[in-house]
Symmetry: C2
Subunit: 179 residues, 2 copies
DNA sequence: TAGACGTAGA
DNA sequence: TCTACGTCTA
C-alpha cells in the first residue's frame, strides 16, 4: 500500500479530480500527484530523455497568473543559502530540463497550486501568511520558455504553461496514450 | 478535521494502540501522538510550567536501550551546522526543560520508536539504511537525568525513562487523571 | 552527500 | 528568524 517504488505517472491520476485539496506535500506524494517533498518539479524518463510530470506552485518563487488557463512558472535552483535570494544562475538540468523537453513532447503536466490564507496577525514575525492547502488544478502543457536576468545578473528560466482544452476533468483523459 | 489548533494531549491517544505503525512523522502529527515535524520532544504547559508529552527516537542521537522497559534519551540541541556534530552545549530549555520537569510531575510520556530496515545496497551512497516506519511504544515516565560531556567538552543531557507498569495497553489508562 | 517552492513552534 | 531525531531524489 505504501510502496510507490519510484514509478511516475504521466497525466491524470485515477481517483484524483480537479479541485481536490491536500493539506501537506506528503499527501501529494502518497496519492501520486507529485513524488517530491520539497522540489517543485517532478519528472520521469521517457524515450531516453526526461520530461516533466507535475509542478507545484507554493509561492516561494515568482510565478505569474495572467489568465486562468495560462501560468508562468519559474525554474528551480539559483538560490544561495542564507537570505534565500536568487544570486546564482539556474541551470538547464533536472526539473528545468524536463520542462524544456516537455515543450517538444507536448506531454500533459499536472499542476498543483498552494493556496494561501492570511493567518491571524498575532505573530511577532513579519510573514503573517501560511500555505493552508494544496489544490490539484488539472492538466497543462508547456508552451515555451525564456530566460530572464535577475537583480544579480543571474539567469532565471520561465515557462509558460496552458491548460489542456476540455481536459479540466481528468476523467476525460484517463488512459490517454497520446503525448 | 485537520484542525488540531495546538491542543496537546497528555497520556494515551484514543484509538491509538501500542504497536501501531506510521510511515511519516506527519502521521504522528495528524493522529495527535507527536505535534512536531522534526523536533524529537513534544511538550505542553501545565500549572505554569512545561512538561513533556511525547518523544520520538529516530536514531539521530545516541539513545541506549538497556532493558525493554528502560530507555535513555538524549536531549536536543547542541548540534552545529555542517558536519551535524555536537560541538555546542545543550541548554536546559524547551524539550530538555520539559523532560526535567516531568520527573517531578511524574506525568506519562508517549514514546515512539523509528524502526529501521536495511535497504537494498544498490545505492552509491554509504548509508544503505532508511527509517521505514515509526512505532508507538506506549507510556513511560521520566525517572532522572544527568549530564555527559561530549568530545568537544560540550554538555549533553541524558534522560532515563521507564515504561509505566501495566500500562502497555493504553486503553487501561484512558481518562486517567493522575499524573 | 547535498539540495529541494517543506512545516510548525518558539 | 531560526531550529527541529524530516524525507526524498539525483
Amino acid at each position: 500500500r505504501w510502496d510507490f517504488s519510484g514509478e511516475a505517472i504521466l497525466g491524470s491520476i485515477p481517483g484524483v479530480e480537479v479541485g481536490d485539496k491536500f493539506q501537506f506535500r506528503v499527501e501529494l506524494y502518497i496519492v501520486g500527484l507529485h513524488r517530491h517533498f520539497e522540489s517543485g518539479i517532478d519528472y520521469m524518463e521517457k524515450n531516453g530523455k526526461i520530461i516533466a510530470t507535475s509542478i507545484v506552485l507554493s509561492g516561494g518563487y515568482d510565478n505569474d497568473l495572467y489568465d486562468p488557463d495560462v501560468l508562468v512558472y519559474s525554474g528551480q535552483g539559483g538560490k544561495s543559502m542564507h537570505g534565500n535570494k536568487w544570486t546564482k544562475d539556474q541551470k538547464l538540468e533536472g526539473g528545468n530540463l524536463a520542462l524544456v523537453n516537455s515543450i517538444d513532447t507536448k506531454n500533459f503536466v499536472r499542476v498543483i497550486f498552494g493556496s494561501k490564507e492570511v493567518k491571524d496577525s498575532n505573530s511577532i514575525y513579519s510573514r503573517g501568511k501560511k500555505v493552508l492547502y494544496y489544490v490539484y488544478n488539472g492538466l497543462y502543457k508547456v508552451e515555451y520558455y525564456w530566460q530572464e536576468t535577475g537583480c544579480s545578473g543571474n539567469c532565471i528560466f520561465k515557462f509558460q504553461l496552458r491548460r489542456v482544452e476540455g481536459h479540466s476533468n481528468p476523467h476525460s483523459v484517463k488512459n490517454s496514450n497520446k503525448m
